[in-house]
Assembly symmetry: C2
Homo-oligomer: 456 residues x 2
């Protein structure tokens, strides 16, 4: 039975208890009852020291299960668990993994260690891994499994089934790819179709030649889009001359989709895509600081707008009290708009052809929200300060600010997309700068114009 999340939490607690009392035999027994994928979840749920101790026990006593669990972990965590073992050990274990999993883990080992590991692995396996690592990150070549099951196009269905029966070490086969003698990809057939015809039928007769494939240099995001929109279980990967060099299965595509979603969420918040919860503090600092420094620059820009009206504030200090409201509401409205637009672009719902409609919609929503929130703010400010005039100014500034938020929140990501840049890069920071500047300029500018009505 599948273990629901709650059950895994119980296993994590048991593992921790057994570790504490040193009940090694019981612990091993418990671990061996778990599915490798569950074991990976359990390992993730432990503290560093516990995780290393558990994994060390498992790899000594049941290397196969340990490596199966390892390949279910993300490669960064997997590499961390192996890093304190000898190169001989690592080579021995890693060469049993599928080449794509092995490559991902070796890539995260410290450089010297990874070189020794590759030298100590079986020749064929290390060559496979080195080939994969030559492709740029985030391309089909880097994430494919080179161990692809391909058949000679001239076989019959019966011969194909015989070959399939012999090929026991190939990962999940759902499609049979047919190649010519120089390994050019010619056709594809599903496993099920083999069962529907007599064994003498030539493979050529039942295969489709209209193949959805990726090239080694195809971006992994495009690979994911292809697999998702054509509802594929696997996609063949070919080189520049259309030779079949690998396959990417849907389970790897799911990882890509999660990665790309993480990247989008991160970009909107100004976080580098390589950061994870447990990235060491020093590294996180180095990753986040440049972004905060950029923000400091934009914040000084907003401050200098306020600086222009220092004289007005000196006469009516109550204005300073309402400044956080102007800035905060503009920022929030802009973030809402930006998020909807960026996600719409990522999901392919928004394009150039229908961009105008989105801009009009957001501006209408911005004006509507501006009116409602402006009115509410005006009333509250009036009650708060007893001055209807300052409430009126706040309401008017809010209306302008939410209009700017809607316009900037739509046009900036669309513009970035048109320049072939990632729309999520136009993170909330740039748009918040627009709303801060517009908000302070309109609120304090209006206050300066109507200064005599504010002074009592």
């Amino acid at each position: 039975m599948a273990a629901p999340q709650r059950k895994l939490d119980v296993v994590v607690d048991s593992v921790r208890r057994l570790l504490r009392v040193g009940a090694t035999a019981n612990l091993l027994n418990l671990l061996q009852k778990q599915h490798p994928a569950d074991l990976a979840e359990v390992l993730k749920g432990l503290q560093d020291r516990e995780r290393h101790a558990t994994f060390a026990l498992l790899i000594e006593r049941n290397g196969k299960l340990a490596m199966e669990a390892l390949s279910e972990l993300d490669p960064e965590n997997g590499a961390a668990l192996l890093a304190d073992r000898s190169a001989e050990d690592i080579a021995r274990f890693v060469q049993e993994l599928p080449s794509d999993d092995a490559a991902a883990i070796i890539d995260y080992l410290p450089e010297e260690l990874s070189t020794s590991v590759l030298e100590l692995m079986r020749r064929k396996e290390s060559e496979n891994v080195e080939n994969l690592l030559e492709y740029p990150e985030r391309t089909a070549g880097r994430i494919m499994n080179p161990n692809v099951f391909a058949l000679d196009e001239d076989l019959t269905v019966g011969e194909a089934i015989t070959e399939l029966q012999a090929a026991r070490d190939v990962e999940m086969v759902f499609y049979l790819y047919a190649v010519d003698q120089r390994r050019h990809l010619i056709g594809v057939s599903s496993l099920r179709r083999l069962l529907l015809v007599s064994p003498e039928t030539p493979l050529k007769r039942i295969m489709t030649t209209d193949i959805v494939s990726a090239r080694v240099d195809t971006d992994q995001e495009e690979v994911a889009r292809l697999v998702a929109s054509y509802n594929l279980l696997a996609i063949p990967v070919v080189d520049e001359s259309n030779k079949l060099v690998g396959v990417i299965t849907v389970d790897d595509v799911i990882d890509v989709i999660k990665d790309e979603a993480t990247e989008d969420i991160y970009r909107l918040a100004g976080v580098t895509r390589d950061e994870r919860v447990f990235t060491p503090p020093g590294e996180s600092l180095r990753m986040r600081l440049p972004w905060l420094a950029v923000n400091l620059g934009t914040a000084f820009l907003a401050a200098s707008v306020v600086g222009l009206f220092e004289g007005t504030i000196a006469q009516v200090t109550a204005l300073a009290v309402f400044m956080p409201i102007v800035a905060g509401m503009g920022g929030n409205a802009a973030t809402q708009t930006l998020t909807v637009v960026v996600r719409g672009l990522a999901l392919g719902e928004l394009s150039w052809a229908n961009a105008k409609k989105a801009v009009v919609k957001e501006v209408l929503v911005g004006l509507g929200n501006g009116l409602a929130i402006g009115l509410l703010a005006a009333v509250v400010a009036w009650i708060f300060k007893g001055s209807p005039m300052i409430g009126l100014l706040l309401g008017a500034a809010m209306l302008i600010n939410l209009f700017v938020a809607a316009t900037a929140g739509t046009l900036i990501p669309l513009g970035l997309k048109a320049m072939k840049l990632d729309p999520a890069l136009g993170s909330s920071v740039f748009i918040t700068t627009c709303t801060d500047v517009a908000g302070f300029a309109s609120f304090l500018g209006l206050a300066t114009i109507f200064l005599r009505y504010l002074q009592r």
Copy 2:
């Protein structure tokens, strides 16, 4: 060949041109050359009027292709394309779709129309759809396909293959589920395993009885987690008494994963999960306004903190100029922390057992960033205003603010998780309130204490 995104843009342009000049025959010809999934992408890329015109043409001339494209669209868009046709037409077309796709589309039709459509559909199909719609949204029961291929557990492999050959209308079969006479789920075998044994082998001998399954009431997010972590191509769905009632395939799981990512991104920005780029303005307004109103409340809270120090600002108005910097930097640092923590929780990398480590890390990063940014801000403020004292205050406030940002950004989502609430609900707004209050209080509080050094 698969159409890369660029090629689809060209098709969209051609469709628009052919529509403009009224070249119906050429347009139909172009549309019929597309894969249904590509056609869905093309439809999404058109403006409303163009999309309706194109779909109307297609459904008149090639109903099958039109419906295939429709089931590749998200159900909301699909329903919109059908909504202006007669109930008879809709019933006729929709009953050809897999029941899960049909249910999703019918669910988005206006209530009266959907009732008539269900009455006009073939009995068996409408029953299937009505059964699905009875399960709550976002559960396995709602998204499963009830048309699942199941075999009597007592068959031989040869008999199973014969049944498979006869069952031509079943969607992608990869696993064969074996059931007893009362349709209880007993075992599973992969298609490939059938090929590895002789036809006389009893199915029971090769099937696994250790089945990963979902119950009709399992949350769709849990379904996605199971399929992703066990690398499944499909998961069987059973009712309370373990009877097999449906199957969810990996392509539907990919949609769920995308949906859940959208929900996380949206929640962080305070956007309702049902909103899309083209949600009508009135509806968007209604969805976003409550959130903005909550924000207005928190903004007034920050404003009232500033209000406490109005006397200080009256004496040193330059303080008001630097307020946007204090608020802005705290908000940005908090958003970075919050995003990393929320995503870590969503991906299962962060749990209670290792939460302490995450808190310590974020606090260290917050202090480090606070020192660096505080120093930088102090120097810039000194140059900007010629006063070393105000720079010093700004730097100190920044250090405190970034420390608060790190603490709140980690503890609030962890606390929500502990209370079984969605951590993403602790959106940046609540945390920004913390940083605003802490930032203004420390900056203006320190200024009040050291007031005599600020006045010259």
